[in-house]
Subunit: 222 residues, 4 copies
């Protein structure tokens, strides 16, 4: 049996860059070792290489562009992300939406480079659409739960259940992550019970006084 | 049996606005009556109301935004497009790409308003993804054929055939249009033989000296 | 002496499309005639032609793209806006931001077509930058006032005064509009006293039970 | 007297990432030492930290977003770029256009962090507009020269001369770079004679078999 994935998005929080990114990664690595659960981090682009060099946990880019090497000043070249040691990448996060054509090109580029892909979506229909692009994961982020402090289990577990079904209906080799509404170990357990293979979370870990303690609680029921 | 759809995109060509749009619509209406084939036009937003008022053919917007009434200065409100008499709308044309979330929102808004939806896509994978959003049509525009003057039949008919299959694999109630590479009546016939329900074309009609003659030739083998 | 400009942005409000747009335009035309003040409306693209045909007041597009005739499906061609009878256009509204290169191209296209240009900006520095493009008007919309219900005079009149100075410092033939924070005739008077040549407003007129009464009050101190 | 600036944009060329970025930076550092001319490099985000750590030349980001720390997944936080050791940043490169509001916010953020700013523009009017934002440099890239292989001196030196004048007319403390059309040491000399303080170039160095030889020739007439 494969471990569930706890993926921590460091966003562009002040608490998630430079030395602070190392602090989160240290907590993630420690709790991953203790618990046997896979815990990944998605830092800023500048922190990809240092984190992938110094830590044994999987490191993800927060975004890649669906481009090939060439004249694309200021864009995120998948080859450069791979070279920096990334294990995978988020694509189409709710804060960094892409066109359908660009999502497809980004997933295709990542596959060529053996980067794991996590495509974010906002509802059942877009989850099914994303599944058709055959990423490794679809992370469903219901807009009403993003940054709300409301638990996915109490809000509307049906959207997660129906997203899993919709994804399975299109391709049964695509896994699903619960991308919002994760407040505690209870939420993580419910997310898995609903048929998802893990969770994507951010501020609850990144802004914690003791990230390791928060992570320990999150994996406590697995 | 339902007629195939010949959909003429007037783009922002000088030959496709104002009085010139009426000229194209007149040709389309005449050939539609003669042949019994459904011929639609997609003019500029300013020409939606005049064309839908003066002609009996279906008129399409070239784009809508997936918004609801409110503070969205400069955007295309689906309700306003409907009110102007549109029969349907293009969504995500290769020249006006949208995020996946916006495509979904635009399709959903159009459905609420009973506007027919034609979602444009660029390859097999994005066609399958678009199908998951349940539009009326997916129009596949292989990038290598757009504006190339190359016929779809001679270039790569396989991409059309595989797109039809991919769309059917996701939803069997979504129809497919061949969105590029249509040069002649032969091309239209091949497009239908490949399993699509019509064609989307532009400059070959809009820039023609005699649009009615071009349209007559295009429907001659149907 | 030239009349100040009261410019009503109908946005994509339900109360601002189709027959409701005619209702606002009727009020604007009546109050303009009674008061001698210039009152313009910026409706949806589909309503440009009907309003410019039926009313004597100046009608503005809410946006144009800095393109020339060609293959730009779903974009707003300045030539098509002109052909629909527009007197001018908003450019770079806070809800429809453009790149600097596109603002410049849109202003240049509008000038070629003798469309009046109103470039919206968000602070002193961007107002000076917009002035360098030599539009007819710069409309300053301080973000803290947009849709706030707070009057510009009570909030921070200094940002308006400094924007006027900054615009004058770059080009003295560019006029300035106060683009947010207009609640009453008092606000309009203060806006003019601060050195601007008019106001840009939206919901207070568009969503009013009696738009003519609101407009009468707005121009009452001019 | 201050040295002119030779700024090498590594773009997303295969020859400009990872170990290859070190190869270009080595050449730049050597020629800078030999000649006394300031030579900077703008690598991919992942290479900012390694290059600024290992080399004494100034390292620039290719882009920053005008954001503050917070929830902006996949964006480029100025604070994170600074922390990675960057000396400055390109803003609004022709391949990565920004809205006017975002250019202003990016310049303001960079100033707060003491990052040098190079705002790219495409013509005389946008150069004047960019100058109003008070960046350190405006880099003018005439579209007809970008990647053309045509020398700025032979094509249209007037656009450079008039851009310098337009920038000076708005603010005399903003310097100008010639951002395209640099093929040789002759071009660099002409660029300086036209009143610019340096050049921005890319493929001629990045794709060279011997980048140091190309750089030596470029600075040979200074």
């Amino acid at each position: 049996m494969v471990s569930p994935l706890i993926l921590i998005n460091l966003k562009t929080y002040q608490e998630g860059i430079g030395g602070s990114a190392h602090r989160i990664a240290t907590a993630a690595e420690n709790v991953a070792k203790e618990s046997g659960v896979t815990i990944g981090v998605a830092p800023s682009f500048m922190d990809l290489r240092p984190l992938s060099t110094h830590f044994s946990i999987p490191v993800y880019a927060q975004h890649i562009d669906g481009i090939t090497p060439g004249a694309h000043t200021g864009y995120i070249l998948p080859e450069a992300v791979k070279l920096a040691g990334a294990h995978g990448t988020l694509i189409n996060h709710s804060e960094r939406r892409l066109t359908l054509a660009d999502i497809e090109a980004a997933v295709a580029a990542a596959k060529r480079l053996q980067l794991e892909t996590v495509v974010c979506t906002n509802n059942v229909a877009t989850s099914a659409a994303a599944a058709a692009l055959a990423p490794d994961y679809v992370a469903i982020e219901p807009p009403e739960l993003i940054g709300s402090g409301v638990s996915v289990s109490k809000a509307d577990p049906e959207i997660i259940r129906r997203s899993v079904e919709a994804v399975r209906g299109v391709r049964d080799d695509v896994q699903v992550l619960t991308g919002a509404g994760i407040q505690s170990g209870d939420c993580v357990k419910i997310a898995l019970d609903l048929g998802t293979q893990g969770v994507l979370l951010a501020s609850s870990v990144v802004k914690a006084d003791d990230p390791a303690a928060v992570l320990r609680e999150l994996v406590s029921l697995l």
